[in-house]
Symmetry: C2
Subunit: 352 residues, 2 copies
């Protein structure tokens, strides 16, 4: 069964730790919201409507055009355990809304999980591309290609004046959300981050934490995305985001260099202590783990710590989330047990 | 020259980390204060008087009886650099008073530094025995033997009613101070220490830190000694101290066991984090170093940390003191530089 073959390792393409500007940019994401014109939108859909939407998507998956892009499999959420659903959430492949609120929810994934298409989430389709490093243009190109294939087979709800119609008015227009996940420890340490975040918000962009809206910026990970989907072309949105991200990268790099020249020993001490704690602690909560993994990642990028693969660090940020941990250890764990197992997992990964 | 051959390593007998009850007792010390009757006491002595006292001591050193105990060498403080003096102080072989206030101050040492006789400190002679572990009776026996040899050659100031006369009235009588250095981390962690310290003080004993009067109990090291030197025999003083120390040992062991059974994971986490920090930090001040070395020592004693020699830990507590550090690195260091070198020294010793 498709549901059984789901990849429960923290090894999605976007966590590879390579890609352009990967010293600062973890991943780039483009998501397109689309709805099928003659089926009620998911908020109003019955089970039958949702099943119909799912069938139409399934039919497109058989198309030759899509096969030329990659091999895909469709996973229905009802076939997954609660834990498997949470693991996919923690890998950013599906959303909490798909898990908690959808009828006949499903997700279409390619092998390396860079493409994830949610079905019957808030909209009938959410086409999502997730690439490592700063590849927001590349992600948009691929999303657009896939969108074209679906659009050729399905009649999408589209208004000449407004653009694509979506369940939530904030998505109307392009239906696009482009976002970039950035690691900004030096801007946080030098206390420039708030000034920069407030500047970003005046440029039509929003900033969130690792796990989306309302989530804290654990581990100094910040997700920058476009606020506006209407009245601008997709290319303009992507260009604007790219330009702002390049500026933030410049600030973060400058802050890192300043730390290296002005506070070398202090920063060396900090990243090494974090490494020492991660490789020896017997108990660690997810917030501390994320913060210390951030320190170690910075240490690697600055050449202060050697012999640690930055990829391992991003894997660990994801793998030490609650569901991942429980999946990894194959049992339900209390928060206290999770803190022990999290420490165990980090120790063993850092030793390897 | 004697002054040149001084042992600047942190390798005195008392730091060996063995001896009875060495899981808790670092060292035992007995010190006898003696004065030569026909020479003015050091506070009133001229340089000439002090030189005379020194000559009398030097003469005794040639005696066959003393030679049967061990080989000794006499080091005049004027022959030592400031740094070497401070190193001897940090090794507990000489006192700050000998360094700062004496005329013609000197110290007589045997090879392994378990015997140290200060000359022209507050009293003409301060015969000091320093043994590893709980050996306060053994230390008294040896001190008494040496005292007998000196007393046979020198006429000590002695009053039939009061006993030995000393510069400070608190030492009159036996002239003896017996003390035991204990490592009591579990009593500190379980917050029983204050109750126990106040009980001790009601038994005629005083508690000080590692570096004597007024020094804080860094690294959970507590020095318990007799308050009273008058109206009691040396044997009674030693027996009383021994008995109280055995009781404190019992409390500390019980507290360690309770930590192990009731908070095993918390204590495991604490000692391992301290080990991780000590083996990775780039900067560390002496207070933090002492605290973390205390944690690691506890971890070793409880079998939670393996592969670390407890002897190394006590060596490091001494070696990371300011003068030792500077002697080790062969240069004058600012406090900031010391914190860096201290971290360096600890890392290299723990790696070895």
């Amino acid at each position: 069964m498709a549901g059984k073959s789901i990849n429960l390792e923290a090894k999605s393409e976007w966590m590879k730790g390579d890609g352009p500007e990967s010293d600062i940019v973890i991943s780039s994401r483009v998501r397109l919201a689309r709805n099928i014109r003659d089926i009620p939108f998911p908020i109003l859909a019955t089970n039958k409507h949702a099943g119909e939407a799912l069938n139409r998507v399934r039919a497109v998956l058989q198309s030759e055009e899509l096969g030329e892009i990659d091999a895909f499999r469709l996973i229905e959420l009802d076939d997954l355990s609660d834990l498997a659903k949470r693991v996919l959430m923690e890998k950013h492949l599906i959303s909490p809304a798909l898990v908690n609120e959808s009828r006949r929810g499903a997700v279409v994934l390619n092998e390396n999980e860079s493409i994830s298409i949610m079905v019957n989430e808030e909209d009938h389709l959410r086409i999502q591309i997730l690439f490592p490093g700063l590849q927001v243009k590349e992600a948009w190109d691929l999303a657009s290609q896939i969108d074209d294939i679906f659009e050729a087979k399905l009649d999408f709800a589209f208004d000449e004046r407004l653009g694509y119609l979506t369940s939530c008015p904030t998505n109307v227009g392009t239906g696009m959300r482009a976002s970039v996940m950035m690691h900004l420890p030096a801007l946080v340490m030098t206390q420039q981050i708030n000034r920069i975040l407030s500047a970003i918000s005046q440029l039509g962009l929003v900033v969130r934490g690792l796990y989306g809206e309302g989530s804290e910026a654990t581990g100094n990970l910040f997700q920058v995305s476009n606020q506006i989907t209407l009245g601008k072309s997709e290319e303009d949105i992507v260009d604007n985001l790219y330009g702002v991200v390049m500026q933030i990268i410049g600030h973060e790099r400058a802050a890192r260099q300043r730390l290296l020249t002005e506070s070398r020993i202090r920063i060396l001490d900090r990243v090494n202590r974090s490494f020492g704690i991660l490789s020896h602690a017997a108990v660690i909560d997810s917030k501390e783990a994320a913060q210390r993994l951030s320190d170690v990642r910075l240490g690697c990028e600055l050449g202060l710590i050697r012999g640690v693969d930055p990829k391992t660090l991003m894997e660990l940020v994801v793998m030490t989330q609650p569901a991942f941990l429980q999946q990894h250890f194959g049992e339900n764990l209390t928060p206290e047990e999770r803190d022990v197992r999290r420490a165990e997992l980090i120790r063993s990964k850092l030793k390897a």
